[in-house]
Subunit: 210 residues, 2 copies
């Protein structure tokens, strides 16, 4: 059976990747990987839907057993991607979306060399700053902190497979969806077709006397 | 300036790549690389449009001077791709189409690692055979010879970047065009954007006191 595509979506805070992800999930049949975390559930959050909630001990065990594709610590809590469910879906031929940070993206690429790494970028740093400020929910210090972080994250852009500029939301959604769709035509994802053609053509070519 | 994409289109004889190329050239602003050859011009063929016609001595000089991206001998005549014009167009930001055989495709990839190699395949070997027979212009021996050749060529499928099945012509044209269009979003083709973001973000992040 043809395997699914593992698509990693990353981007600066404020690049709009969350909205793009939400629309992709709503419109198409992607499997969205749910993260494991040690953070406490907030009101209304459902275990297995928003996150898989675990104790620190459980999370450490998952790390030790190699059950996470990638994990990171953020403000005292751990976040990670459970490997088993991702692999199950890929093996069933379903395309999987993973919204993670750049360092995590690099780890996914190491373990899944055929994964598709897409970086969502604003058209300019000016726009990024405006979007962060425009939310109105962040303090100047928080905006500053996110810009500092973006200055670190920008170094990973070149290591992604594709860069999609989110200038127009609808356009960006379509582009990301198309990139995943076209990834199925890669030779490395067409092993079944190649094998079929090899066998059939050699059979025909061998029947010289017909 | 952003460079153009060098797209190599290959496929079995009878896969329909010629028709796809013709439509792409007609509809879009691609530059079609014109081959150099030592074959004599046929009636109506124009030098510089259909081929660049050369003597064997001239062709040998072009080989010796490294002026050809790739070349091959076919039924006693030489065919090759002049490097200079391809590079000129790419440097001007124009996407270049190259319709060549698989061995040539491999040589192009060596010299232009960022080139995009697209393999056009019929949906099955049965269809390939039918198409070869359906032309009505080829003798059974010629069809047989082409199938033998396809049996050799099929080994190169896996080395191409993408495999497009030409089941429906219009669909195949759109897919090839989209693949080239999306190739512009590859990180390796987005150096200008990456550099701009790096500079802008670091400038913003440095202005702490504002």
């Amino acid at each position: 059976m043809k395997k699914g595509i593992l698509a990693v979506i990353s981007g600066f805070s404020g690049a709009g990747k969350g909205t793009i992800m939400k629309e992709l999930i709503k419109r198409y049949d992607y499997f969205l990987s749910v993260s494991a975390t040690t953070r406490r559930p907030r009101d209304g959050e459902v275990d297995g839907k928003d996150y898989y909630f675990h104790t620190k001990e459980e999370f450490q065990q998952m790390i030790d057993r190699g059950e996470l594709v990638e994990w990171a610590e953020y403000v005292g809590n751990f976040y990670g991607t459970p490997k088993k469910r991702v692999e199950e879906q890929l093996n069933q031929g379903r395309d999987v979306l993973l919204e993670i940070e750049m360092q995590g993206g690099m780890l996914v690429k190491q373990q899944f060399p055929d994964s598709l790494l897409i970086f969502i970028s604003p058209p300019s740093a000016e726009v990024l700053k405006e979007r962060l400020a425009g939310r109105g929910t962040e303090s100047p210090e928080e905006i500053e902190r996110r810009l500092q972080r973006a200055a670190e994250e920008v170094k990973y852009m070149k290591d992604y497979d594709y860069i999609i500029v989110n200038d127009d939301l609808e356009d960006a959604i379509n582009k990301v969806n198309d990139l995943i769709r076209y990834d199925h035509y890669k030779a490395c994802n067409s092993a079944h077709l190649i094998k079929k053609m090899e066998q059939e053509i050699s059979t025909f070519a061998a029947r010289k006397g017909e």
